[in-house]
């Protein structure tokens, strides 16, 4: 049975368990003189039976579905004749995809070696077996646990307390998923990063100024060693982020000031949602706009005044990224400006200062730490932004500060290295994870600092 159907079946069984539990509690209560002699309402007895039946079955189903793929892969690889057992992970994944192509019928068995055709047959059999075993196990667990839960229904049993404590644990597990996700992120990048540093020296990655992640097709190839210096990537990322900030900070800040201090209610009611619309546009749309409209426009403009500009200039990607970040800066600054106590405003205006003087000399300095925090958050977003740069910035890792030249960024390289066919042991693929680790650490630091600043600032005025 398909996992999705099995899931529905499990839920159906839980509902059956609910009705049986409900009915049993009522029938037990009847001879005693009605449900008021039960410790809890019949609903809770039913819910308890349903949880007993459903939770273990779902756990079994989840674990089986998560691990069956990997286990089957290992069995298939283990069952190959000795001379075909792949030496590396890369070969293993190639071989596995070949086998599964044969099994799915995309590749006729006559085209491949006999052991592979056999392995494909075995794969098909294993998949059927696994599916059957999973269905049998899940259904029997659901029925058995549900039956046990049903059997133990007594009028004295406090089903409500049990149901509530189970629910509380379920809620807790959901909240703890956030920790699990973080741990997952850290482990998934950390392992591959450590393997990467086993192949490429630490110093080359951090201090190298040359990035060209080729891996050799033949051992004797010229330049068989790729270069993995991340400095050009980081300067490229910083260049594009800086351009984005030059666009976003003044525009976002000034529009926030205007909207909070000058604009009437009507104007604000129209302009604010429109600005927020900029934040809701998918990044792939900005990327499209940057690559196909802004970049050609900039290179034409530069050509018309006699400067050479690349058709994938950092300026185009940065400017469009800046537009994307405007609402982010403006809504954060808006919050901070509004948090400045009204008394400070009134005091300044009462002394005869104009509104702009009040803004520049009183409110802005008071709001500055909060605004800086907001800007740091915006920087972290710019660094991690992917689609705009993938579509509009180039692949060439130039070490330059000229915004009209092509630069590449960390995120572009991650995407380039990881899309398409990969071997999981080449330095090239592992480099993507090392870059991901750097990106994660950089954005995490920025976020932690920014959140601290923002929080500290808020406490000051509360």
């Amino acid at each position: 049975m398909q996992p999705a159907n099995l899931l529905l079946l499990t839920l159906a069984l839980a509902i059956v368990a609910y009705w049986l539990g409900y009915a049993r509690s009522r029938s037990l209560a009847m001879p005693l003189g009605g449900i008021r002699h039960l410790k809890s309402l019949p609903f809770y007895y039913g819910a308890r039976a349903a949880l007993w039946s459903g939770i273990p079955a779902l756990l079994v189903l989840g674990l089986w579905a998560a691990f069956q793929g990997k286990v089957i892969q290992l069995i298939i690889i283990g069952g190959l004749p000795d001379n075909m057992i792949p030496a590396t992970d890369g070969e293993a994944s190639l071989l596995l995809s070949k086998i599964s192509n044969v099994a799915s019928g995309a590749l006729p068995p006559g085209f491949v070696e006999a052991p592979i055709a056999e392995a494909a047959e075995r794969l098909k059999a294993l998949r059927t077996q696994s599916r059957f075993l999973m269905s049998a196990l899940v259904v029997s667990v659901a029925v058995l646990a549900g039956f046990l839960g049903w059997l133990r229904i007594r009028p004295r049993l406090n089903a409500r307390v049990q149901v509530e404590s189970i629910l509380k644990w379920v809620f807790f597990a959901c909240a703890a998923l956030a920790i699990l996700t973080t741990v997952g992120i850290i482990f998934s990048v950390a392992f591959e990063t450590i393997r990467f540093f086993g192949k490429v020296p630490f110093t080359e990655f951090f201090f190298g100024t040359h990035w060209s992640p080729q891996t050799a097709l033949r051992a004797d190839q010229v330049a068989s060693q790729g270069a993995f210096g991340m400095i050009p990537l980081f300067t490229g990322t910083l260049l594009i982020s800086a351009i984005a900030m030059i666009v976003a900070v003044p525009v976002g800040l000034l529009s926030a000031i205007y909207l909070s201090e000058y604009a009437g209610k009507k104007v604000r009611g129209v302009v604010k949602p429109l600005l927020e619309m900029l934040a809701g546009i998918p990044t792939v749309v900005y990327g499209f706009f940057a690559a196909l409209t802004v970049a050609p426009f900039i290179s034409d403009l530069a050509a018309s005044i006699g400067i050479e500009a690349s058709s994938q200039s950092a300026l185009a990607a940065g400017a469009v990224m800046g537009i994307m970040i405007i609402p982010f800066v403006s809504s954060l600054s808006d919050d901070v400006i509004n948090a400045v106590p009204q008394a400070m405003r009134d005091g300044s205006l009462a002394l005869g200062a104009t509104q702009s003087e009040t803004m520049k000399k009183v409110i802005f300095p008071a709001a500055l730490p909060g605004i800086m925090g907001g800007i740091l958050l915006a920087v972290s977003r710019a660094i991690g932004e992917t689609m705009i740069v993938v579509m509009a910035a180039g692949l060439a890792a130039n070490l330059t500060a000229n915004p009209l030249e092509t630069v590449t960024t960390v995120t572009v390289q991650i995407v380039t290295l990881l899309t398409g066919d990969q071997e999981f042991d080449s330095a090239k693929t592992l480099a993507a994870f090392a870059l991901g680790a750097m990106l994660f650490i950089a954005t995490l630091l920025l976020n932690v600092i920014a959140l601290k600043i923002v929080r500290k600032y808020r406490e000051q005025y509360e």
Binding site: L254, L278, T283
Partner: protein
Amino acid sequence: MNNQRSQAEIVRQSLKSRYRKERRFRAYGVLAIAIALGALLTLFTDIIGKGYTGFLKTTITMEVQLDGEMMYLDDPTDERQIKMADFVEPLVQALIKEIPGATEDDRDQVRGLINPYASVTLRDALTANPDWLGTSRTMTFLSHTNVDVYVKHAGDDAYSIKLNDQQKAWVDELQERGVIETSFNDVFFSGGDSRDPSRAGILGAIVGSLLTMFVTLILSFPIGVAAAIYLEEFAPQNKFTDFIEVNINNLAAVPSIIFGLLGLAVFINLFGMPRSVPVVGGLVLTLMTLPTIIISSRAAIKSVPPSIREAAEGIGASKMQVVLHHVLPLAMPGMLTGSIIGMAQALGETAPLLLIGMVAFIVDVPDGFLDSATVLPVQVFLWAGSPELAFIERASAAIMVLLTFLISMNALAIWMRKRLERRW
């Protein structure tokens, strides 16, 4: 006294420049807003301008002689014969007849006007209606992409027209006579991706998006709400709870591509799940949108006034009953609003899906959660990278469809906030 008057004088004299500064500051604010809104306007006009033609298709309507001898076919029910038969010839002959002055010698040029897929359309029509053999029928076929580009963009320097002058003259003439027409592009909404821009559609991507969003919704909404309830109502004040909160806040700001790395390393490499399937995409997007949903659900729970809780507790409800029977229903509109906004974000997300392989060229419309699929934003990305401008036009049209979805989701969220959310 003298001194004082001169100070007042100074202030009065400086007033003019101070007011000027005030006006200038105001103007900067207006300018900033104008820049932001101007960018929004440019973006929209650019995309609509580039893409509205993507909603049009160019077709050729002509009378086709279904001559069995010409097609080497005498029994359309025979599968083998159908496979061998020539379905191009009747189309070429029909079009030659429509063009005055075209002769048998021009057949290659005439053939260049017909979509390569038109013969398949003819074959399918004939297999479905075997009795058409030997008759002559008026049928409509897609034109060649080159004709499509010429009809839509003649005179636009950005497009390179790949027809020669003879063909251009024919197309002009056929257009005048109504043989070549443009109409609403239903192919765009009813097909999957294709190498031929005229036949490329977004149905596959839309279905892929829906499947992925379904997985995301059924996982992230219950989990997010449950986590929010725990943190707001049950969590004890301790280090561990603080740690969970720090994690959630940080995850909300982690770049989306990192979630792609997580999906690749955990779901695909560790668990051995297949690549480019909606289930894995949905799982990755769930992890990505959870923080958003948790944060907005917590805000919704917080906004339920304590008096409700106290009243329920006062008549003997347990903590869980207070939460599930009273707080949760009252907080639900706020939670739904937050979730819709989170889902809109997930629908527009591209980067993490690139890493888990949802960028493949997929022709078929996916028919299940474990079927290879792509999603709408990724389809935009794929077409936008094509050197053919006809694909760019389709990418713009796909963006319009995507934005329509997103704007209606956000409008729904705003409407719900206005209608259902209670002010206490």
